[in-house]
C-alpha cells in the first residue's frame, strides 16, 4: 500500500471512486443542502477540512493505537475536527452556519470520513493520507457543487447568489441572473429536485468508462 502514488489517489478521490457518485456515501447532506452553490460550497469545504484533518491525525497515530481501541480513537478525532469546524464556521460565517444548521455537526456521521480513516489513513504515511483526505473531500465537494449549481440554475435562475455569506462583502455582486427577475422553478430547489439531479449524476464515472 505504501507504493500508492499520489496520481492514483487523486484519480480515485476525484473520479473513479468518487465518494458521492460511486461509493454513494454522504448522500443525506448531498440531497439536503445543494439548493444553491453557496450552501453546497460551504458544506463541501467543511467536509473536506474535517476529512483532511482526521486523515492526517489518524495516520500520525496509526502505529500507537491497538486494534481494539482504534475505532473509538478515530471517532474521537473526527468528532473533535467536526466540532472545531463548527465553532470556526459560527465565528466567521455565522449566517451560512445558521442556514446549513444541523448538517455541519452531522459531518461527524458521514461514513466517508470514518471509511477513509479505516481504509486508507491507518495504513499509509501522513503526507499521502492528507492528500487522500483532500482528494476524497474535494471529490465530494465537487459533486455537491455541481448539483448545487444545476439546482440553483434550474430552480432560482441564478448562479452564485448570496456568496457574500462565505466570502464577505466583496462577493455582494457575484449573483448572475440567468433568466431575468421573477423566474422560479420550485421543484428543483425542493427535495424532489435533489433526487432528480443527483440520480442523473449517479455512477457517471462507471458509465463514462469504456467497457
Amino acid at each position: 500500500m505504501a507504493s500508492t502514488s499520489s496520481r492514483e489517489v487523486a484519480h480515485n478521490g476525484l473520479w473513479k471512486n468518487n465518494p458521492a457518485l460511486v461509493q454513494l456515501l454522504g448522500l443525506c447532506p448531498l440531497l439536503a443542502v445543494t439548493g444553491s452553490v453557496v450552501n453546497a460550497l460551504g458544506l463541501g469545504l467543511a467536509t473536506m477540512l474535517v476529512l483532511a484533518g482526521s486523515n492526517t491525525v489518524v495516520s500520525m497515530i496509526r502505529n500507537h493505537v491497538s486494534e481494539a481501541v482504534k475505532i473509538p480513537a478515530f471517532v474521537m478525532i473526527i468528532a473533535t475536527f467536526t466540532t472545531c469546524t463548527e465553532l470556526l464556521m459560527q465565528a466567521f460565517t455565522y449566517e451560512l452556519y445558521t442556514i446549513l444548521g444541523i448538517f455541519i455537526p452531522l459531518i461527524v456521521t458521514n461514513c466517508m470520513i470514518l471509511g477513509r480513516a479505516e481504509a486508507f489513513a491507518c495504513k499509509n504515511p501522513v503526507a499521502i493520507s492528507l492528500f487522500d483526505g483532500l482528494m476524497m473531500g474535494g471529490g465530494f465537494g465537487l459533486v455537491l457543487l455541481s448539483i448545487g449549481a444545476i439546482r440553483e440554475i434550474l430552480g432560482s435562475g441564478t448562479l452564485f447568489a448570496d456568496m457574500h455569506l462565505l466570502f464577505g462583502p466583496i462577493a455582494e455582486n457575484w449573483t448572475l441572473h440567468l433568466f431575468g427577475e421573477g423566474y422560479g422553478f420550485l421543484i428543483a430547489v425542493l427535495p424532489p429536485g435533489a433526487f432528480l439531479v443527483a440520480g442523473a449524476d449517479l455512477d457517471s464515472p462507471a458509465r463514462a468508462a469504456p467497457r
Binding site: 480513537a73 474521537m76 468528532a79 473533535t80 465553532l87 465565528a91 455565522y94 449566517e95 444548521g101
Partner: protein, 227 residues
C-alpha cells in the same frame, strides 16, 4: 488473564490520553472563537431589531436603550434566570414601541428564540426568530430566510384575532401552519400570544419606567463607548 488485564489498562490509558488531547483542542478552539461567535450573534440580533422597527421610524439608539425584563414575568416569556432586556424604540423622548425577547420552549426540537416587537397601542410591530433547531425543510419556515410566514403576525393584537383564534388553523385558529409541521408554528403562535399578554399586564409599569429613563441616543451611546 494477566495479559488481558494489562492490555485493558494499556488501552484505557491510550484512550484517556486521547480524550485529554482532543478535549484540550476543543477547549482551545472554543476559547479562541467564543468572542467572535458572541459578536456574530449580536450582529444578527441587531439586524433583526432594526428589521422590526427600521431606523427611520425611531430616533433613539434602539440597541442600547433597554430595560430589564421584570423577574416575575421571566417565566411567562420562557426566559431563564439570566433574564433578558426589552429594547425601547422612541420618537424623541416618547416610547413608540418595545421589543421583547421570548423563548417558545415547546418547539419540535427544543427552544425557539424569538423577539417580539409591540407598538405601544398593543399591536404587533413584527416577530423574528433569532435561533431555533427545527427540522430543515419543514419547521424552519419560521425563519424569514426560508419563508415569510412570520410576517403574518404584523398588525395582530390580543383582540385581533380574538383570543380563541390565537391558534394554528389545524386547532381551528387563525394562523397558517406549514405542510408537515404543526408543532413548530403552534409553539411560536402560543409564545407570541403569551408575550402580548405580558405586555398587556406590564404595560403601565413598563412605559412609566421607560419615560422616567432618559432616552439613549446614538450620540450618548457613542460617548459611553468612548468613555
Amino acid at each position: 488473564m494477566a495479559t488481558l488485564g494489562k492490555s485493558i489498562s494499556f488501552n484505557s490509558v491510550v484512550l484517556g490520553i486521547f480524550a485529554l488531547i482532543t478535549a484540550s483542542l476543543l477547549a482551545g478552539t472554543y476559547l479562541g472563537t467564543k468572542d467572535r461567535i458572541a459578536d456574530a450573534k449580536r450582529e444578527v440580533a441587531k439586524r433583526a431589531l432594526l428589521e422590526i422597527i427600521p431606523l427611520e421610524q425611531h430616533s433613539n439608539d434602539l440597541l442600547m436603550d433597554t430595560l430589564p425584563v421584570p423577574a416575575n414575568f421571566l417565566h411567562t416569556l420562557g426566559l431563564d434566570d439570566e433574564g433578558g432586556d426589552i429594547n425601547i424604540a422612541r420618537e424623541g423622548d416618547e416610547p413608540i414601541a418595545v421589543i421583547v425577547p421570548a423563548v417558545a420552549p415547546d418547539g419540535y426540537n427544543g427552544d425557539i428564540q424569538l423577539i417580539v416587537g409591540i407598538n405601544i397601542d398593543g399591536t404587533l410591530a413584527g416577530v423574528r426568530t433569532i435561533s431555533h433547531h427545527e427540522t430543515p425543510g419543514l419547521g424552519d419556515k419560521i425563519d424569514l430566510k426560508k419563508s415569510d410566514w412570520i410576517l403574518g403576525f404584523n398588525g395582530k393584537s390580543l383582540t385581533n384575532p380574538p383570543p380563541s383564534q390565537w391558534k394554528v388553523k389545524k386547532d381551528k385558529g387563525d394562523f397558517d401552519q406549514f405542510t408537515g409541521a404543526t408543532i413548530t408554528p403552534r409553539a411560536v403562535v402560543k409564545q407570541v400570544y403569551k408575550t402580548l399578554k405580558y405586555y398587556n399586564e406590564d404595560q403601565e409599569r413598563l412605559l412609566k419606567a421607560a419615560r422616567k429613563k432618559p432616552a439613549v441616543t446614538h450620540q450618548t451611546s457613542e460617548e459611553a463607548n468612548n468613555g
